[in-house]
Symmetry: C2
Subunit: 286 residues, 2 copies
Amino acid sequence: MASSREKAESFRALHHGPGVLVLPNAWDVATARVFEEAGFPAVATSSAALLVSQGYPDGEGIPRREMVASVRRIASSLAIPLSADVVAGFGRTPRGATATVRKILEAGAVGINLEDHDPSGPALVPVRSQVRKLEAIRRLGTEIGIPLVINARTDALRHGAGSDADRFEEAIRRSIAYRDAGADCVYPMGLVDAPSISTFVRAVECPVNVMVRRGLPPVPELERLGVKRVSFGPAGAYAALGLLKKASEEIRVRGTYGPLVDGAISFEELNRLGVPRSAGGPPAAG
Amino acid sequence: MASSREKAESFRALHHGPGVLVLPNAWDVATARVFEEAGFPAVATSSAALLVSQGYPDGEGIPRREMVASVRRIASSLAIPLSADVVAGFGRTPRGATATVRKILEAGAVGINLEDHDPSGPALVPVRSQVRKLEAIRRLGTEIGIPLVINARTDALRHGAGSDADRFEEAIRRSIAYRDAGADCVYPMGLVDAPSISTFVRAVECPVNVMVRRGLPPVPELERLGVKRVSFGPAGAYAALGLLKKASEEIRVRGTYGPLVDGAISFEELNRLGVPRSAGGPPAAG
């Protein structure tokens, strides 16, 4: 198995190739392994999907140890790099956020998402506070020898002040500040249309992450726009739960099983996803 | 919120109405809550789906405390009855199996599935051993005042000795013995075709559980055949992971997002599934 340092370096390199890194977000071992077997070069977690699956609404309501335990289970099941969504760091201070990131790296992740949305309300964390958190996390990676990939998310497009144009400018300003604080990639939540993406990418001059949602340009167009990373966010959970809702309707109303059996994987496929890798063994065949 | 006694009684009554109890199997809070919101009167767990989601293959490889913790999270999130799959009871003796069931009931479940497949190999547990486990579990329910619903699964159709006809007879013999030991419902794994279902139901003279799979007659036909309960088993997980596999293929090959966005639920719907119920509050609107 590759070391955390090697995994972090190969994960970083995926942000600097000619194409777009397509990064699926999982929320448990089964979903992470499905994505690995499908051939993705790395997997991330979705905090919203992970938290809800365990009985917590999105945010930082989950005890940190439970979130870390989930990341450990997922990281242990994968041969490829895992990036963990740590919300706003489970701590208001640089010290609090780095303590969280240290545990996440010990659990086997080699990248993080850190957002600037204050989990206690609709406001944004002050930009200087977020910059200090990012600088401290970057120093931590240097200290412990894991060059983790930092994806700095800004919620300025949704929670910034002023007009749409003001918020767009604020998202760019924050992203540049986060880049200069050591972020490898910036992630303006809510950036969807091609002209805005193009403007944003040219303004920040570093890898930009966008999220799958209805209306997002297809991957080849994202590549032309200069996007370096597209993540699923909670879309996999929205889709999987939507399917269960549809299957429920079908069996309750018509008494038939179509959505439960069409396109389903087999017991053998499911079970294989839960078989632990032997240390040093090759990744499962895909 | 209803007490465990009330939930157990209402869950049992669902096996004795005129129709078929359609029982969806969940594996985490989000899937359990989706099923509750869809209007099902009760939810069960699927051990295969639950174990794999946490990084264990099907069987009893998961530490019992982790399985109990998962059941507690799910039971705490539901207003309706929850039945928990306890595999073969995490113990070879009646004492071991009742210790597991006690913990499961304390965690909030009001029903169990207990199978007669020996988790250490392909053989069946001797029928007298399984009968003693079932009798002990029934006594436990009486002692602690929770009239839990016991669904006794037999794997004789798959792992019994002899010809197909021998295994069918063995499944009937075992189901009758389990019924007489106190099971409320019997569950011959692998019973699919209408003639076999009809013969089985008439032979055992108690509620029979069948599992959703391709080829199973639709619910109205199951009702005519005398089936009292149809459960999803791991079908929900097979379907959800099949969808993620299909979505992965589409985004990797074509760069488009169809399976991730068509029929998906929204962020608000996802997040609502993770909001804890206030004690005594009404169930979420469906």
